[in-house]
């Protein structure tokens, strides 16, 4: 009696769709089989080149040959293209393998139903069954496939670069890139004199991430509460004004800000001077440069938080407030017991995301201060450099993509561990009592 499930699963594992046909699901089985034929053909046609490309990264170097007085280019292998194209193929093969396994499982389930003497769905029933019982799978498949190819694949590529000698002296198409194992990792850590810089930059990175996240969140929160309170008129007018920093492309605002904060020539200090105040050296003094960055970031970031929080405020049922008013609760009590928890419930994962995002907030620092003012005790870093801008000037400026990749990996591990740890503790993640 157990035979059907084993037979069906085995058949499907050998040739997709056979198990389904064996289970008398002819339409589904034939569709699977046709797909399988294509997949096998595709794999056979591409397997060799993909594996060769990704393991050797190319063997012939491009060169110029002199014919008479004319140089003729002779095309060589492009290591990076080979690597990425190989990777794309491997991803497609992995997708095929996954589908093959799922197909075998499906055949097994079908066989099991037969073993138990139940009837299997025909194609019409199947098509109706999926949107109902497999709805979640159905709707996240397409986004996930996109993410798989356009986000995961590039990340894996970046990681692979760390194990190569890809830098500006080994740059395709002119030169070949080779695998070199952990050499880039070793090189980076043998530079012990950089420890001081790393520690300093790391400390500021964390300080910056905390400051920027909190200022924009609480700034946005405060403004949201201020605007939304009862009795304030022209609400939409104020909200519209507060949205302005959000609407203007950030790189433009930052350019402008650089001018506004110019200590010697900028209008801010000129204005202050009219009131008899000598303004600080906004971008030249280490302390003020940091402060300026936080202030500008607050300007850029608070509209987002405000909009988000206003959105959440409107979802809080009014009767909650009404009930507590009946009990004579103070405004502060209502805020502490109702408003704040509701906002935090929805926003805590976003906050963590923003925190992690700020660790990597390249634009603001690079465009505003460029990492400066320079710190003579640091190696190639300034007072306001965070890890990612330091990593940029250290490696990308000097064209060493493999070093960049190594540092990306470490930065990623730090951020991901932290973010994941906090993320898994949020209610939004743990909340599992909503089962349908």
């Amino acid at each position: 009696m157990r035979q059907h499930r084993i037979t069906a699963a085995t058949l499907s594992a050998v040739f997709m769709g056979l198990g389904q046909i064996y289970n008398r699901q002819y339409v589904k089985g034939s569709a699977f089989a046709a797909f399988y034929a294509f997949a096998v053909y595709f794999t056979i046609a591409n397997w060799h080149h993909a594996i060769w490309g990704i393991t050797t990264l190319g063997e012939t170097q491009q060169k110029l040959v002199l014919v008479g007085k004319i140089y003729k280019p002779v095309k060589g292998d492009h290591s990076i293209f080979l690597m990425i194209e190989g990777l794309i193929m491997l991803f497609i093969f992995a997708l095929f393998a996954y589908l093959l396994v799922m197909n075998a499982i499906d055949a097994y389930r079908g066989g099991k139903l037969r073993d138990e003497g139940k009837k299997l769905n025909n194609i019409k029933q199947t098509l109706r069954y999926i949107p109902d019982k497999k709805f979640a799978h159905l709707i996240i498949t397409i986004p996930l496939v996109f993410v798989f190819f356009f986000s995961v694949l590039p990340i894996i590529f970046s990681v692979m670069i760390a194990f190569t000698n890809y830098n500006n002296t080994h740059e395709p198409p002119g030169k070949l890139v080779d695998w070199q194992g952990f050499r880039a990792f070793k090189d980076l850590f043998s530079l012990s004199q950089w420890a001081h810089t790393f520690f300093g930059v790391f400390t500021w990175t964390m300080t910056w991430a905390v400051l920027s996240t909190f200022t924009t969140f609480f700034g946005g929160f405060a403004v949201a509460l201020l605007v939304q309170q009862k009795g304030i008129r022209f609400k939409s007018f104020f909200r519209a004004i507060y949205m302005v920093p959000f609407a203007i492309p950030a790189f433009l605002s930052l350019l402008i800000m650089r001018n506004l904060f110019n200590a010697q020539f900028g209008p801010i200090n000129s204005t202050l001077l009219k009131f008899g105040i000598v303004g600080p050296e906004w971008l030249s003094d280490p302390f003020w440069a940091k402060a300026t960055i936080v202030i500008v970031n607050l300007w850029l970031g608070f509209p987002l938080s405000m909009l988000l929080i206003i959105g959440i405020l409107t979802t809080i049922p009014r009767d909650l407030y009404e009930a507590s008013e009946v009990d004579g609760a103070s405004a502060f009590y209502k805020f502490r017991k109702i408003t704040f928890p509701s906002v935090m419930f929805s926003l805590s994962p976003i906050l963590i995301g923003q925190f992690a995002g700020n660790i990597n907030n390249f634009n603001v620092i690079f465009l505003l201060s460029g990492g400066g003012p320079t710190n003579s005790e640091y190696q190639f870093a300034g007072h306001t450099d965070i890890l990612i801008t330091w990593l940029y000037s250290l490696s990308i400026t000097n064209g060493r993509y493999n070093f960049a990749a190594v540092i990306s990996i470490f930065l990623f591990i730090i951020i991901a561990l932290f973010a994941l740890f906090s993320f898994r503790r949020t209610r939004s993640f743990r909340e599992d009592d909503l089962l349908r």
Partner: protein, 278 residues
């Protein structure tokens, strides 16, 4: 009672003062951009806020020296399509994670969450080669696809939001025989208007001002987007187009501001009313 009223009025006055101060803080740099665009000369820097000589020449130059109108249409097309697709992807992913339980759900959630955190300047190369193999270089489709593709990574906000919507609303509908899709469209979507507005505005503004990726993918002038075109004005080392750039930026910012103002009323009305009815 009068003490209460006095305190209330005093607080309102303080609130207005604060609101106005914040408005000044907010609007000042923006005002600077606007006024720069009317300032004679080429330099973005100036000592005074109000231009000494007013001119609209920079706006004219936008259309005469550059294909500004074409860029504008390109940007609108790309941003609007991306907006629709990415909001759709985000909502669906968030809905799936909020309302369904399935195998490896948590792993996928965590995975998607951290994928967005990888810091790399190198991944662009991989995307470029992908597009090359798909023969999509120098097409708008490429931009739309790549910008929407990553959207699912932003599911968290939607999930968090849907979690706050009481399930009782849906149960009634399910008893009435609504499908999953029906619940999504008829119950959850109307309840999430502010969220949708937020995501749409973010996505639109993001794509509208994106130029790094657009620059690597698009090459012909006719295909260019606003952001790329504008950025190139100040990209060169010896740029002398700062004020034209400012004029362009004003025109770029306008649709985003307008869109927000249009959707603003939805934000306020939408949810509370909907929830009460439910």
């Amino acid at each position: 009672m009068s003490g209460y009223r006095f305190r209330k009025n005093a607080w309102l006055t303080v609130s207005y003062v604060l609101l106005i101060l914040i408005a000044v803080f907010t609007i000042y740099p923006a005002l600077w951009i606007v006024l720069s665009s009317f300032r004679a000369g080429t330099s973005l820097f100036s000592e005074t806020l109000i231009p000494e000589k007013w001119t609209v020449i920079h706006y004219k130059e936008l259309f005469e020296k550059f294909q500004f109108g074409r860029w504008y249409m390109n940007s609108l097309k790309i941003s609007l399509t991306t907006m629709v697709l990415s909001v759709f992807f985000q909502l669906l992913t968030g809905y799936a994670f909020s309302r369904f339980r399935f195998k490896s759900r948590k792993s996928i959630m965590s995975g998607l969450f951290i994928i967005g955190l990888f810091p790399s300047f190198l991944s662009l190369t991989a995307v470029y080669v992908l597009l090359l193999n798909m023969k999509l270089l120098n097409t708008h489709t490429a931009l739309i696809m790549v910008s929407s593709a990553g959207a699912a990574v932003g599911y968290l906000l939607v999930k968090g939001y849907f979690d706050t919507i009481p399930k009782s609303l849906e149960e009634a509908a399910i008893i009435d025989g609504a499908s999953n899709w029906g619940v999504f469209v008829r119950i959850l979507l109307p309840l999430s208007r502010p969220l949708v507005v937020y995501m749409a505005v973010t996505s639109f503004a993001g794509t509208f001002s994106e130029f790094i990726f657009a620059q690597t993918v698009l090459r012909t002038e006719a295909k260019q987007t606003l952001a790329v075109g504008l950025f190139n004005m100040v990209n060169t080392q010896t740029s002398t187009e700062f004020t034209v750039f400012a004029a362009g930026s004003v025109l770029v910012s306008i649709p985003v501001v307008v869109i927000f103002i249009i959707f603003q009323r939805l934000l306020v009305e939408g949810l509370t009313a909907g929830a009460d009815k439910g």
